[in-house]
């Protein structure tokens, strides 16, 4: 039982000259939610596809639930569930028809299928709309249906690729409650996301950037080992201040949050408050407070270390920094333009 459900070593995938995933090591323990946090195009979907046996790795080894991939991909398929990033059930079938289809595709008998479907309809609050066509449902309803379909054969391991990208916050919270129910029932889950609040709920987390794993650990561990202080700065002209701070090599990033500036200072500075006061900043800050690090701070400190010199993630906490096209065309990338240019420069080097 203590054997990891996913064990990947040196996992690499190249599309032509582009390396979408580069030498990724990954260990996922049973009965945990493992999160993949990263911007669009960082290789999350490619990794998930390699772990489900949909893509053949260019290099590296993968063992999922004891099955070696890609060799045993077909054996694995009965034991995993996969919720794709884009809704992939049939829009022109009703909720019940979709579930029945998936149940029979997984070889469930009529009796078991009926029983599972009625369980799932009530678990995911789909009972009242079981006769509605999937194409006419809201984002949250479709996502619950997709999760129901992905779990209909009671898989041991569940892959969720950006499951909540089209869902409002309240539905997102409900959705995560359901995920923890599945963990309690003995399943393990690998979820990719670009939402910080979702990443924070994971037992363990990998931060991905342009095909590399930048950090790996529980959210608390990551925050503790961040290697930077968080200082919230108040001042009359934040934009001018931000530019001056960004120019300092000790400052990793400065991002505006309403009337404050959230500044990450490298932890080689022992007393960041006094150090900041000592910098002759114009206008002088009116308030300086140490703050608790957030996952977003972890993300900023662990990604783009060499390229990024003061740019930051914009609120709301979406990590759409990198607009590089992932070869699988899931490019809804809404990357911040200045970051994009810088990153593309970086890839060419």
């Amino acid at each position: 039982m203590t054997e990891p459900v996913i064990e990947a070593r040196g996992l690499t995938r190249r599309f032509g000259t582009l390396t979408a995933v580069d030498a990724l090591d990954l260990t996922v323990e049973p009965q945990t939610i493992y999160g993949f946090l990263g911007p669009n195009g960082c290789g999350k979907t490619t990794t998930v596809r390699m772990l489900t046996g949909l893509l053949t790795p260019s290099a590296g080894t993968v063992t999922v639930l004891g099955h070696q991939l890609p060799r045993d991909a077909e054996l694995l398929k009965r034991r995993i569930g996969y919720m794709t990033q884009k809704f992939s059930l049939y829009d022109d079938l009703t909720v019940a028809e979709n579930l029945r289809f998936v149940a029979h595709i997984y070889g469930l008998s009529h009796r078991i299928a009926r029983q599972r479907i009625s369980e799932l309809l009530s678990t995911y609050a789909l009972e009242p709309m079981h006769n509605r066509r999937a194409g006419r449902m809201s984002g949250g309803q479709r996502q619950r249906l997709a999760l129901a379909a992905a779990t209909i054969h009671a898989p041991t391991l569940l892959f969720l690729d950006e499951p909540t990208s089209a869902v409002d916050p309240e539905n997102r919270r409900d959705f995560w409650e359901r995920l923890f129910d599945l963990i309690d029932a003995g399943a393990s889950i690998l979820v990719s996301t670009h939402y910080m609040d979702e990443a924070e709920r994971c037992h363990r987390l990998a931060i991905m950037e342009s095909g590399h794993k930048r950090a790996d650990g529980s959210p608390a561990e990551l925050m503790a080992a961040m290697g930077a202080h968080v200082v919230e700065v108040e001042a009359p002209d934040l934009r001018a201040l931000k530019q001056q701070l960004a120019a300092l090599p000790e400052v990793i990033s400065a991002a505006q949050l309403g009337s404050r500036l959230r500044v990450l200072v490298r932890d080689r500075i022992d007393d960041p408050i006094n150090w900041l006061k000592a910098q002759s900043l114009q206008p002088a800050p009116t308030g300086l407070d140490l703050a608790r690090p957030s996952l977003e701070d972890v993300f900023v400190t662990s990604t783009g270390k060499s390229a990024r010199q003061g740019s930051s993630l914009e609120r709301p906490s979406r990590a759409d920094g990198d607009a590089r096209a992932d070869a699988d065309a899931n490019t809804e990338a809404a990357g911040t333009p200045d970051d994009t240019a810088q990153h593309q420069e970086d890839h060419r080097r």
Partner: protein
């Protein structure tokens, strides 16, 4: 055993999913009925290889009672209708160039002498040498727009038209070289040959079109990534995909043959069993062909283009429009590859010539082989991977 059961369950799941989707797609469902209906009526009435009432011009330089009798005799054959009259040959030629008429009949001023000589030869009063220019001259001349070989052929058939009316003699009792007995279609109605052929053409169109889109549609609508993550096997997917269309193919065949019988009086001489077996084999072959196309095409537009690529030779080379035997050998080889050619032969044999199942076994087996090969190829080409 359990594996077989699960396999059957998966095929059934895909089949019933396809049927449900089809039931909700009113436009496609309408086309299933309307395509054979409209095409049968259209082609059944429209296609006629017996050319009649060709518009032609008349240049009557004799302008006598005899010439008028001659033109009436010609018109009585129903091959041509005199729509224009000219005094001048060049005017008639201009009318041909302009396309107002397809040919012109020129009656020379010395018609009566020519007829008299012709009559004496025909009546056997004299036996002049055939080299004699005076006696072997025809009574009048046709100038024809020979670019359309069918039209030209029809007018050429008038060459040896008997002139009994002109000569006021009892019907020509001359013995033809051959006696011809027309079996199976003694009245020479084109519809008899066209309607069974239409089954082949319409089934090629609808069957290949439906299945060529079948796999591509799953990818285009984004369902494929879910599907290939399930334990479904490629062959199960293929079988589940084509099964509902077998039913549709049979419905279409029934519509065409029933209406063909009611409206165009097309007979079914052979057995229903032979017809059903040959038709099922052809439906299977067409569906398998569509599946292969579907694994090649990357979107539905490409699938449609490939369908047309198959459909055109299936109409033009299969023997539907033109006799297979008239084509050059390389074209015959190409035609042999098309399922429509084999089915065209089989269905015409069964329906019109009362051929038994074993008399069309060769074509039927070929179609079954084609289907199996197509299914195998499509299943092998279908990869449950994204790379």
């Amino acid at each position: 055993m359990n594996g077989m059961l699960q396999s059957a369950r998966r095929i059934l799941a895909i089949l019933s999913k396809e049927l449900t989707q089809l039931r909700r797609d009113r436009t496609t469902l309408g086309m299933v009925i309307m395509i054979p209906l409209i095409q049968l009526l259209l082609f059944g009435y429209a296609i006629n290889t017996n050319v009649r009432h060709i518009p032609v011009a008349l240049v009557d330089q004799a302008n006598s009672g005899l010439s008028r009798v001659l033109t009436q005799t010609v018109e009585a054959t129903q091959v041509v209708t005199f729509t224009e009259r000219y005094v001048d040959i060049s005017a008639a030629q201009a009318a041909i160039v302009e396309g107002r008429v397809r040919a012109a009949l020129i009656i020379p001023p010395d018609l009566s002498q020519r007829v008299a000589r012709s009559a004496s030869v025909g009546a056997g009063l004299q036996t002049p040498p055939s080299t004699d220019e005076q006696t072997s001259r025809p009574v009048a001349q046709w100038i024809v727009d020979g670019s359309d070989t069918m039209i030209a052929g029809a007018i050429k058939s008038l060459r040896a038209m008997p002139l009994t009316e002109l000569l006021r003699r009892p019907a020509n009792r001359s013995t033809p070289t051959f006696a011809v007995a027309l079996f199976f279609n003694p009245e020479q109605r084109t519809a008899i040959n066209i309607v069974p052929g239409l089954v082949a053409v319409i089934l090629t169109m609808t069957m290949v079109m439906f299945t060529s889109a079948a796999i591509v549609r799953e990818s285009e609508r984004g369902n494929m990534e879910m599907l290939i993550n399930t334990p479904v096997r490629p062959l199960e997917l293929m079988l589940g995909k084509i099964a509902p269309y077998i039913l549709i193919g049979l419905v279409q065949t029934t519509i065409i043959l029933l209406l063909g019988h009611l409206i165009f009086d097309v007979p079914l001489h052979g057995s229903l069993l032979a017809l059903a077996v040959a038709t099922l084999a052809f439906i299977g072959a067409s569906l398998a062909l569509g599946l292969v196309l579907s694994t090649i095409a990357s979107n539905q537009l490409q699938a449609t283009q490939m369908t047309v690529f198959i459909l055109l030779p299936s109409i033009l080379l299969s023997g539907f429009m033109f006799p297979y035997e008239g084509m050059p050998i390389p074209a015959q080889y190409i035609a042999e590859v098309l399922p429509a050619t084999h089915f065209m032969r089989a269905i015409r044999a069964v329906m019109l010539r009362d051929a038994s199942l074993d008399q069309v076994a060769e074509d039927t087996l070929w179609l079954l082989g084609f289907m199996l090969l197509g299914l195998l190829l499509a299943s092998l080409r279908f990869k449950k991977r994204l790379d």
